[in-house]
């Protein structure tokens, strides 16, 4: 979930996606048969859909959309999304509002041959696993996992030395040099995970807290806020990278690609491996309940979803975005030197192994739409206003 004024979660990538839209749209129009693919920027393989087009005869028109729930619903309902888009690829867990408003359809895995090859689904996302809420709802499947990731926090080792616990975010030693994401389903849930693991609060499930539990989390945060612990609550990719690069903060609750971006600017930050575990999440590609959609479009949509479960697409997205995608990706990159250099294949394998480690380590699955989301939102307002 994102916050105001957003150049939001993965927003950095949306800009690139926006540019890609124009070029792809132009080519797609020329060909005639086109699928409209709404995406928050992460699912764009550098504008290259030629593999899919060659195999299916369909072009892909990628359209950048925001990831905030209100932005998605606005696009889908008010913005005519159900008349336009065939697939929307966003951070998963948005099924409750999307299904309630009849915006997406249940998917049939049998239509996607590569579904069964994706062992991440059976390991982490199948029914009965905590990750199911990212792709399923009430026993039915709605999303195809496109990327998986675990979030923690980053730090500047030159300033702090090695850190291995979320306690660092609240350690008075770094008072005034800590930043949190302005988001209750990420920063709030990580804080809940820390409080639970440290025995500082009685929280049954950090992924789905009761109003009393989220209140306890916010009370804790307000105490730290009043003690001057936090420098800022960041709201965009660029802002967080900037905080690291300028060394304005030493410890920051953030996403791993921000550390890569800081490294590209010459700043060595380390993405922590916290003993409490990670905030795990996945992106899901949903089949839009398209008004007047044809059978041919639906068939092509399934083909595109299957393409996204394939090795080339997975490897490309891992390489470009730094997220784990599907189990076929590292092997595909390693066995296709004409498409991926040895260094790229090595990088894809390393990223995949790193994220896999996070999932093995466990933690808490982000919940984009907890049962008491209104309580989350109003408590977070209290934190911000305190």
């Amino acid at each position: 979930m994102t916050r105001p004024f957003e150049i939001s979660r993965r927003g950095l990538l949306s800009t690139a996606a926006g540019a890609a839209v124009l070029s792809v749209a132009g080519r797609a129009k020329a060909a005639g048969k086109t699928l409209n693919f709404a995406d928050i920027g992460v699912g764009d393989p550098g504008g290259d859909w030629s593999g899919f087009t060659k195999a299916s005869g369909w072009n892909v028109n990628l359209v950048a959309i925001g990831n905030a729930p209100s932005a998605i619903l606005n696009v889908m309902i008010g913005g005519g999304g159900t008349s336009t888009y065939d697939i929307i690829n966003i951070v998963g867990g948005m099924q409750p509002p999307l299904i309630s408003n009849h915006l997406i359809e249940a998917i049939d895995p049998a239509e996607m041959p590569d579904w069964a090859k994706d062992t991440y689904i059976s390991e982490y996302l199948t029914e009965g696993k905590p990750g199911f809420q990212f792709i399923g709802y009430q026993g039915r499947l709605y999303g195809v996992p496109s990327v998986l990731q675990g979030d923690a926090f980053a730090y500047l080792p030159e300033k702090t030395g090695p850190l291995d616990s979320y306690a660092a975010l609240f350690d008075p030693k770094w008072r005034g040099y800590v930043a949190l994401e302005n988001n209750y389903t990420t920063a709030g849930q990580k804080t809940a995970l820390y409080l639970k693991k440290a025995g500082l609060a009685d929280i049954k499930d950090p992924a789905n807290m009761s109003p009393a539990e989220i209140k306890a989390v916010v009370d804790f945060l307000i105490g730290r806020k009043k003690g001057g612990q936090f420098r800022v609550l960041w709201s965009s990719f660029e802002q967080a990278v900037d905080l690291i690069v300028r060394k304005e903060v030493y410890v920051i609750d953030c996403w791993e690609p921000m550390v890569f971006a800081a490294a590209a600017k010459g700043v060595h930050a380390v993405y922590a491996d916290p003993k409490e575990g990670y905030l795990l999440w996945a992106m899901a590609a949903y089949l839009v309940n398209k008004r007047n959609g044809s059978a041919a479009e639906k068939k092509a949509s399934y083909e595109l979803l299957n393409f996204m479960l394939g090795g080339w697409y997975g490897a490309k997205i891992t390489l470009l975005r730094g997220y784990m995608t599907n189990p076929l990706a590292p092997a595909y990159a390693a066995s296709h030197p004409a498409e991926f250099t040895a260094a790229e294949a090595k990088k894809i394998a390393a990223i995949t192994a790193n994220v896999k480690h996070k999932f093995d380590q466990g933690g808490t699955w982000q919940n984009r739409w907890p049962t008491h989301i209104d309580a989350y939102e109003s408590e977070w307002q209290r934190f911000e206003a305190a």
Partner: protein
């Protein structure tokens, strides 16, 4: 002929009128109506309930409203104190060419993306930024000053720099429209410059002051980017809390808050309309037309 001219006149007036009704009045009325709707799960049903207003006026968001009012008033006052002398100088002491250049310079910030402009302040004001380095070089401080950024101070800087340029224009219009003979009469009757200013110039420039105040206040009150980028730990104004309500799809609450803000702003505009003759503000333009 006369009828044709009238038709053209009403046609020309009608087009912007229709535009205003369709794109401003209708959305505002819809927002107001939605504020009374009932939220049921992920959807809303038309109703006449005050639940959203109750939630707003009894919750923490009212604090945000109060804070927004206070911050906006303070930022507007600061902007006014800075903009008025500039406008005064341009109206009474600058040659026309200098006026044109200065007013053009005040439009330059609008050529740069607003978000980028606001972000630029973070580079200037952070702990390792040029302002802190200068303060340390001058020996005024020995350690970087933290409160320059992510603080109330930074929000004021952001708001004033964003809206002060807007305020110079109505002030200059108002001041330059003042009949010079009134000022000369005051001098000839022996009034000192200060008395002339407080007795003649200031009262006659009130329409411009009020217009500038509205420009500054309305902008600051609905601001969301400046507090997000410069405000530190959860600094919120009304724009932020409205967006937050929309994130959990509480559109009736967001609509109720928006309605309260719009009503407050309409109150201000009505006061301006009732208190001042628009021709006093547009004196210069009216003069040119004659």
């Amino acid at each position: 002929m006369r009828r044709a001219r009238a038709a053209v006149r009403y046609g020309l007036l009608g087009l912007p009128g229709v535009f205003l009704v369709v794109f401003l009045v209708c959305p505002l009325l819809l927002t107001f109506a939605i504020s009374f709707w009932q939220r049921t799960g992920f959807t809303f049903t038309p109703a006449l309930t005050f639940n959203s207003y109750r939630a707003f006026f009894s919750g923490v968001r009212l604090l945000v409203f109060d804070r927004s009012l206070l911050i906006s008033l303070e930022a507007t006052a600061i902007s006014l104190l800075l903009a008025y002398p500039v406008a005064y100088f341009l109206a009474f002491h600058a040659v026309p060419k200098a006026v044109r250049i200065c007013l053009s310079l005040f439009t330059v910030p609008f050529l740069i993306n607003y978000i980028i402009r606001t972000f630029a302040w973070t580079y200037l004001l952070d702990r390792s930024g040029p302002v802190n380095r200068l303060l340390q070089w001058l020996g005024l401080v020995h350690h970087p000053v933290s409160w320059l950024l992510y603080s109330d101070f930074a929000v004021f800087i952001g708001l004033v720099s964003a809206y002060m340029p807007f305020m110079v224009f109505p002030l200059w219009l108002s001041l330059s429209g003042i009949d010079q003979r009134l000022i000369e009469a005051s001098w000839m009757l022996g009034a000192r410059p200060a008395r002339t200013f407080f007795g003649v110039i200031l009262p006659l420039s009130l329409p411009g002051i009020f217009a500038a105040t509205i420009f500054g206040f309305v902008g600051s009150f609905g601001e969301s980017a400046v507090p997000t980028i410069l405000g530190g730990v959860g600094f919120q104004l009304m724009g932020n809390t409205i967006t937050s309500a929309m994130d959990v799809l509480d559109y009736p609450l967001a609509a109720a808050m928006s309605s309260v803000v719009v009503i407050a702003m309409l109150g201000l505009l009505t006061a301006w309309f009732l208190s001042f003759d628009l021709r006093a503000l547009l004196g210069k333009i009216m003069e040119w037309r004659r």
